[in-house]
């Protein structure tokens, strides 16, 4: 658990600054006035149900999609200028420079059927001015044993690792990860988390979208919850939705085998009392606080 990472000591430069972002598809408003700040060097997780505007927001930040209104700055540049629209257009050189500092792991995998892992990774490395060593990156994402395999022979989780390899091959200052661990087995997820922590420790700013709340909790300095096209709350994972103040649930087994539970603001006192009542060990004792998932579902459910 990473607690107490303070950002105050760091330069408060922002990596991403969004104000009043709006985007509609016809009558369907996907993003309705979203504000967001992501600091340099932090791991920021965006949570939200499908259709809440998460992917649209991320794709606007990645320079894939136009917006209808609002201000967006990513690493000091309006991503729309990289896309080259009527509103904004930056020079090829500036756009390429921005692209080389932004790593993207898209939601779907782009498959290069007939090429091998090593071929694809070293090909992409060539696009970046200070690209990383392909062999090293392949090793880092855990595909060393598959370097010579054609990409279509990879399993779902392995393809995802290839995606991650392509996202970090350019040694980005800012990395977008859109549901990166979908299809991973638990062990692979843990390994992936280590990789993200490494990248973060080396100073990479990371924006992560995920449906796995434990993933957000394990990795993120801050989480933002998107619902209905707005960011409804931003907080550290352990304080989201007033989680710190939430009541604890104590449950135990009564002598006749029933499970009993009680919510309490003072669980220690309750456990002490139970211990006295049972004369020592309390059978089946658990003390839990609402998980991030409980809090999140409550927040989403209120809407």
């Amino acid at each position: 658990m990473l607690v107490g990472r303070t950002l105050g000591g760091m330069s408060d430069e922002v990596a991403i600054r969004v104000r009043g972002l709006r985007k509609a598809y016809g009558d369907n408003v996907a993003v309705a006035g979203l504000d967001l700040d992501v600091h340099r060097g932090e791991v920021f997780a965006l949570l939200g149900p499908n259709g809440a505007g998460k992917s649209t927001t991320v794709e606007i930040l990645e320079g894939y999609r136009r917006r209808d209104a609002g201000e967006v700055q990513v690493l000091g540049i309006d991503p729309e200028s990289v896309l080259g629209t009527r509103r904004a257009r930056s020079s090829e050189g500036l756009a390429a420079d921005w692209r080389s500092r932004v790593g993207i792991v898209l939601q779907g995998t782009g498959e290069f059927d007939e090429l091998t892992v090593a071929e694809v990774v070293s090909h992409f490395a060539g696009f970046y001015p200070s690209g990383d060593d392909p062999d090293k990156v392949i090793e880092r994402v855990g595909l060393a044993g598959k370097a010579r395999a054609r990409t279509h022979t990879l399993s779902g989780g392995q393809k995802r690792r290839l995606d991650v390899a392509l996202g970090i091959i350019g040694r980005p200052a800012l990395l977008f990860l859109d549901e990166p661990t979908t299809g991973f087995d638990p062990e692979a997820r843990r390994e992936f988390w280590e990789l993200i922590r490494d990248l973060s420790a080396a100073g990479t700013t990371i924006v992560l979208t995920t449906h796995y709340l434990d993933e957000a909790e394990a990795l993120a300095d801050r989480v933002g919850v998107i619902a209905g096209g707005r960011l409804i709350e931003v907080a550290a994972p352990d304080s989201l939705g007033r989680r710190r103040e939430a009541l604890a649930t104590v449950s135990w087994r009564t002598p006749d085998g029933q499970v009993e539970s009680a919510e309490s603001a003072t669980p220690t006192a309750l456990v002490t009392e139970l211990a006295a009542r049972f004369g020592g060990e309390v059978p089946g004792l658990t003390v839990t606080r609402p998980t991030l998932e409980d809090i999140y579902l409550r927040m989403i459910g209120q809407r």
Binding site: R5, D97, S100, L106, G110, E111, P129, S130, A202
Partner: protein
Amino acid sequence: MTTTTKPAAPVAAPATRRLGPARLALRQGRLEIRQFLRSRESVVFTLGFPVIMVLIFASIFKDEIAPGVSYTQYFVTGMIATGLMTVSFQNLGIWIPIERDRGVLKRYRGTPMPKWVWFAGKVIMVLVTGVVMTALLLAVSVTLFDLDLPGTATAWLTFGWVSTLGITACTLCGIAISSLARTARSGSAVVTPVALVLQFISGVFFVFTNLPDWMQQVAAIFPLKWMCQGLRAVFLPESFGAQEPGGSFELTRVALVLAAWCVIGLVLCLTTFRWTTRRDG
């Protein structure tokens, strides 16, 4: 529980080395060719199809269509033109939607790769397969069906520019038509009928002047008819020109029509090309 203070970002980036344009284009071309060669179906279909067609048709029809001109000679010129269209128009029109649907294009778009590099890769792939296919067709036709290679420098020159203009027009149109396909699978459904109809009305299988007048008029709008006619100027005797609809091989008109299609194709590419699928914005 650990309290982590993040170290400042190490700025120990290695000396920047940005690849030059020529190198970027060549790498991309090599990657495309490698991908092409490794997908067996496309190799067989693209390179093998014209050769098989020549073997079949030249074995069935052995007549002379004019004094000193065999049907085989006529047909081979048409198949070279068709082959050039296959490696460019059909190949791109079918494969680009597949790559777009798979998200390959979107992924390229997220890198600092200059956009033109991706197109350059496709063009290099088309040119290389076009040359290989033409050489293969000529080799088969010369050894098995007594086709005469062009005897003069002028004829070779004509061969060169007709093929180049033709393949350029077809490449641009192939890239342009790729944006019509909504999904990976619909690429071939869009492109194949167009190519097949053009082959029938442009005088590939039948002697062009034997076709109904209206059909000739329709064919004259599109590039394939003019590619065939330009190649006939290369491989058939000068005298055959008198039998063309215009009374000669009309090389100037061939150049003009093909150049016009290059312009149309380019404009369509620049205005309609999509890096992502429709549902993907």
